[in-house]
Subunit: 207 residues, 2 copies
């Protein structure tokens, strides 16, 4: 079987980025197929459910980012083999995807409608999820979300926490993670300092 | 470790039902904790993210129905061991959960707003997902969604396809699956005729 090809937007975030990080950290050969956001309108006509990321593997084209991420995690050795630890990992992956969906639902809104929807995210929805994540982290020992080691749950958490903290989401304060769940802000910084992740972004910066 | 306890609404559908089916078909001992819908307002105050189903396992209370379903599937022997087949299974689980979310978003709407949202589901969104599922099924051989055998993807598909076909969703024609994806309607009937599933519902009917 040829190496898997991951097709996703050419930026360091979103639903494709944790998959790229998993492949990279695990030393798994893959084709990193990146396209400009402007090309998406055409590309989506050819993808299952009109979505990205998609993974080309063998003669299949697979959608659903968490499914692809778990597959990448298994290839990369970043997914728990123990069923209960895998449950803890999957629970966090799905909770994080809820956050993607809830923020995603506010894209395309304008003016007051956007302001109102984002205010609801910033004051209600996101703090609830962030506190839940902080509680999960604490109950698993405080260092990682599952398996007492870095897994794909941490990679997805890093990408989403950085997004929320980026200041690029209008009406979402860049210090929201720090104020709603301080332990999670410290966790984000610690996971972000993982040598393989630092190296990855240092290398990307030149591209 | 004591047996897992699954807490969910006392009806034969929704996000908890595929988990119950998996435990039952796999002969996995579990506590089937069912509550009346009216009790949910109180119960949700005590559950992670205010959601059900939740699985009590060891000293953890776990949310996110697809994560719990995969765990149940592993215990029940209804989840692929091969990573690629597991990817195909997970892809369908996540696509089916999208359907839950999209139908769920129309609950609580009234009158014209409900009519409009459901019409959009019936003519655009659901046919797209149903055709995608039919295509997946065909590409895996036509009988099951993954691993050439019954897996949790088929259990979740059965519960959701029956729900869409129930006639209980206002403005969603009960023959939508049959008209949008005839092969999927035949599949639904075939999976529903699995002896263990037939026995399960025959036994439930007396309760």
């Amino acid at each position: 079987m040829s190496i898997p090809k991951l097709s996703y937007f050419d930026f360091s975030g979103g639903r494709g980025e944790p998959i790229r990080l998993a492949f990279h950290l695990g030393g798994v050969a893959f084709e990193d197929d990146r396209f400009a956001p402007a090309a998406f309108a055409e590309i989506r006509k050819t993808t299952p459910l009109n979505q990205v990321p998609v993974l080309h593997v063998g003669d299949s084209v697979v959608t659903q980012n968490n499914a692809i991420l778990v597959y990448a995690g298994k290839l990369a050795g970043l997914y728990p083999q123990d069923s209960l630890q895998a449950l803890f990992c999957d629970e966090v992956l799905n909770g994080l995807e809820d956050i993607n969906v809830k923020i995603g639902a506010t894209f395309g809104l304008k003016g007051d409608e956007l302001r109102q929807a984002r205010a609801n995210l910033a004051t209600e929805v996101l703090p609830r999820y962030l506190r839940w994540l902080a509680g999960r982290l604490e109950s698993r020992g405080g260092a990682y979300f599952a398996d007492q080691r870095l897994t794909i749950a941490d990679l997805k958490a890093l990408v989403i926490l950085r997004w929320i903290s980026s200041g690029k989401l209008d009406h979402i304060p860049a210090d929201l993670v720090a104020t709603a769940a301080p332990s999670l802000a410290a966790y984000m910084d610690r996971i972000g300092a993982t040598p393989g992740i630092v190296q990855y972004y240092a290398a990307r910066a030149g591209k």
